[in-house]
């Protein structure tokens, strides 16, 4: 049996360095640095303005609003990777994916259920997301993206945009369970390769991501945090 250790899709992004724990930490720090570069000037200018002229309070408040909203926008971008794709009626190319019929949806969820354990099945029924423990951390897999909680203190969430290749016509009509199963199988076969192929949308605080997630999806994040805890305590 000829098996392939490396995810074949990595060939399409051959210029990217393969993701590992060290690279994740580095990207996380760079992300924090970038956020600081966005926030500190606005917050600093607001304080300076207030010190120089207290009557400039409205302008200072606008600056502070900018300092607050920029990280929130990035967190929203991260949370969006877990939201299901917009489904409308059958559309033309570029339109939202058509809503899958109930029977294909049921079959796809059945197949996905066969791939995961009881707890993950139950979590998927509640949240539409699948929890998958990995070597890099705990993953939450959705239809068009995945979130990795990495690090011993699992404070940082890496939100990846990754989905079934939309250039394939067959990808358009896939039911939700199949979309998740595609990502799950790829993740299980080559975790670093999966993270290499995916595009990083956000790498920030888990609490910030949680606030931007729809309420019904938050139990998946909570379960992933608990899974990370288990891994950390087991590793010690």
């Amino acid at each position: 049996m000829a098996t392939v250790d490396v995810l074949p899709e990595t060939a399409a992004v051959h210029w990217r360095r393969r993701v590992d724990a060290g690279q994740l930490r580095l990207r996380g720090r760079l992300w924090t640095l970038t956020m600081a570069a966005h926030v500190v000037p606005f917050a600093g200018a607001a304080m300076l303005l207030m010190w120089m002229q207290p009557l400039a309070l409205p302008v200072a408040l606008v600056l502070l609003a900018h300092a607050w909203i920029i990280p929130e926008l990035y967190a929203q971008r991260g949370a969006n990777v877990l939201r299901p794709p917009r489904r409308a009626g059958a559309g033309t190319q570029g339109a939202p994916a058509p809503a899958p019929a109930p029977e294909p949806e049921r079959r796809s969820v059945g197949l996905l259920g066969d791939l995961v354990g009881h707890d993950a099945r139950e979590l998927h029924a509640r949240t539409g997301l699948v929890l998958e423990p990995g070597r890099l951390g705990a993953w939450i897999v959705g239809e068009k993206g995945a979130v990795l909680l990495h690090g011993a203190r699992r404070r940082r969430a890496y939100c990846y945009c990754v989905k079934v290749d939309p250039r394939r016509p067959a990808a358009r009509d896939l039911p939700s369970g199949d979309r998740i199963a595609h990502l799950l199988l790829a993740l299980r076969s080559d975790e670093p390769g999966f993270a290499t192929v995916a595009n990083l949308a956000f790498a920030g605080a888990t609490w910030r991501l949680r606030r931007r997630l729809p309420t019904e999806m938050r139990p998946a994040l909570k379960a992933a945090l608990a899974a990370s805890d288990t891994r950390s305590s087991t590793a010690r």
């Binding site: 392939v4 791939l115 993206g145 990846y160 939309p166 192929v197």
Partner: protein
């Protein structure tokens, strides 16, 4: 009984079923497997909880072989 399935718009379709001792069944499964590879699908098998592998040839002994489409960064 082993199965070759493809994830598609129906949820999934069974492309072939075989037993290792049935040469005709295996031959049909291999043909279906190669046809899907030619269409750009990738073949996966589960190798235990949380583990999966890509395969380039039909693993005759595997219980379930799943054909999937490639993924890409969004």
């Amino acid at each position: 009984m082993s199965k070759l399935i493809r994830m598609d718009h129906t949820g999934h379709s069974t492309l072939a079923e075989w037993t290792p001792g049935d040469p005709a069944g295996v031959e049909a499964a291999v043909a279906a497997f190669r046809a899907e590879l030619d269409r750009g699908y990738l073949a996966m098998i589960s190798t235990g909880p949380g583990h999966a592998e890509h395969v380039r040839e039909l693993p005759v002994e595997a219980e379930l072989v799943i054909m999937r489409l490639p993924i890409s960064g969004g």
